[in-house]
Symmetry: C2
Subunit: 262 residues, 2 copies
DNA sequence: CGGTTATTTGAAATACGTCAATTCAAGTGG
DNA sequence: CCACTTGAATTGACGTATTTCAAATAACCG
């Protein structure tokens, strides 16, 4: 459903594959974890061991996510999202899950809230249970640190998302969102955010995440394109003017704790 | 600043105080935890032991919240909120912290995100570290279960908030918000949500939480009042028509996991 | 009582949503 | 290779929700 025009982009092999790893499915995951900490050979083994739980899902699948029964997972290929559905059909996408990212680490779900995890493209997952269950080790390895950081990132992103939805205009929202996606896509050749990166999401999906109608999202996109800030075509996003885009995204201001306010 | 007209309401003594507890400050906290699980005498002792860390904050204080340095806390009196501030002064309130509720359990903060915890009224806190640090006990007590549930609640509320901000109209948002606050205020005399409960928040603060301008929030409030759904005056909220209010709040729809979507 | 802060209201501007139609890209079967 | 289908992207016209600016009350506090 959501993967006609855009099916090829995200499958394109990256250039900076972790060397020496035969298992192709593990590469996006290892790349992402490796960005957060240095992984030991043993860490890599622990990740590769997850392969036995690998599972495929067609696009549109609703993944079963009772936190207690199913536990944490990683997406190793394709994109998914957390979402909540309302009676009248409206839905809010809470966050996206890109290849190499995880879901089910937090106590979301609970059937009655309308929450669900949905496959936005063809999907492959592995269970992360065997990593998370081990809990804080006596001597935390790089992998443990990476998992902790993943957790922090998810939390920070959720805050970002609330700020977007509550305070930013449509124009600002899209700019802010694209910058987040660029950061998530990983560093480019120059070390900074990649100028161009895969974004295999339909406008409808992105609009549902940003709390905008598809029509309005499209119009905002046109504005941003006309202003030369970015380009989205064929499942790829291209940041054309990073500085202007960051300015449009109205980033938060740092704040020192002060005893006794104004 | 935010506590002129509304300073008296939240201080009013509740009727259903936990009996046999001399320490007045601990009552709201014990009441809330007691709603989630049955506390043993030992559990109550563990909570009372937190009293040594009790601390007061004037309204408007920015509380220091570097997750690692300061750790989790409970608010034992007054109201606070988590918020993010933007460069141009806009702020998004991420969630409220009522008497007996906690903050700092999650890895929020990180100075550069603009996140902060703010005292909305005069505030009293205790450090929860000694409870949380003990980690999962061999035989988890009622208190441990309660802490787990607190965690779940916070997560679920954050989802609710995103749905409000992203999908609901102003009218729906306010209705949805009031119902959440009613639930948080605890059961009334009849066991259901209390018809009337303390809500010592200014319209400006609530508007900042709901992503609405104060002016519009006020107008929506007028509509809801005119429709006979609710009343807010002098730091108290009164739900006049629970059924109609729930209908206006467009609650989420339950969803069974389905392998292979439509 | 005077000063301050919250609430309330009006009028005008604008951002955003809805409805409806068209274009475009990609696949499918002949 | 070309009609034909389908889902996504795009655009126009119009209505409505929400914001902004400005001002007037109303509640609280010392």
């Amino acid at each position: 459903m959501a993967d006609r025009r855009i099916a090829s982009a995200w499958q394109a092999p990256g250039r900076d594959e972790p060397a020496g790893v035969r298992e192709a499915w593990a590469r996006p995951l290892l790349r992402r974890l490796g960005r957060l900490a240095t992984l030991t050979a043993e860490d890599i083994e622990r990740v590769l061991a997850l392969g036995v739980t690998r599972r495929r899902w067609p696009p549109g699948s609703l993944l079963p996510v009772d936190a207690r029964a199913w536990g944490p997972h990683f997406v190793v290929a394709g994109w998914a999202c957390n979402q909540r559905t309302l009676r009248d059909g409206r839905r809010q996408i809470l966050d996206f899950i890109a290849p190499g990212e995880g879901f089910g680490f937090d106590p979301l779900s609970e059937r009655h809230t309308g929450h669900s995890v949905v496959a936005l493209t063809a999907l492959e997952t592995v269970a992360a249970g065997s990593l998370a269950d081990e809990g804080p080790t006596a001597s935390p390895s790089g992998l443990d640190h990476a998992l902790q950081d993943v957790w922090f990132e998810i939390e920070a992103r959720r805050q970002d998302h609330m700020v977007r939805l509550g305070q930013l205009t449509g124009y600002e929202r899209v700019a802010h969102f694209i910058l987040e996606m660029q950061r998530r896509a990983g560093p480019g050749a120059d070390g900074g955010g990649a100028r161009s990166f895969p974004l295999p999401l339909t406008q409808e999906v992105m609009a549902d995440a940003l709390g905008l109608s598809v029509v309005h999202f499209n119009r905002v996109l046109r504005q941003l394109r006309a202003a030369g800030l970015l380009e989205i075509r064929g499942g790829m996003a291209e940041v054309r003017d990073p500085a202007a885009l960051a300015k449009a995204a109205v980033l938060p201001v740092p704040q020192d704790p002060v005893i006794g306010g104004p």
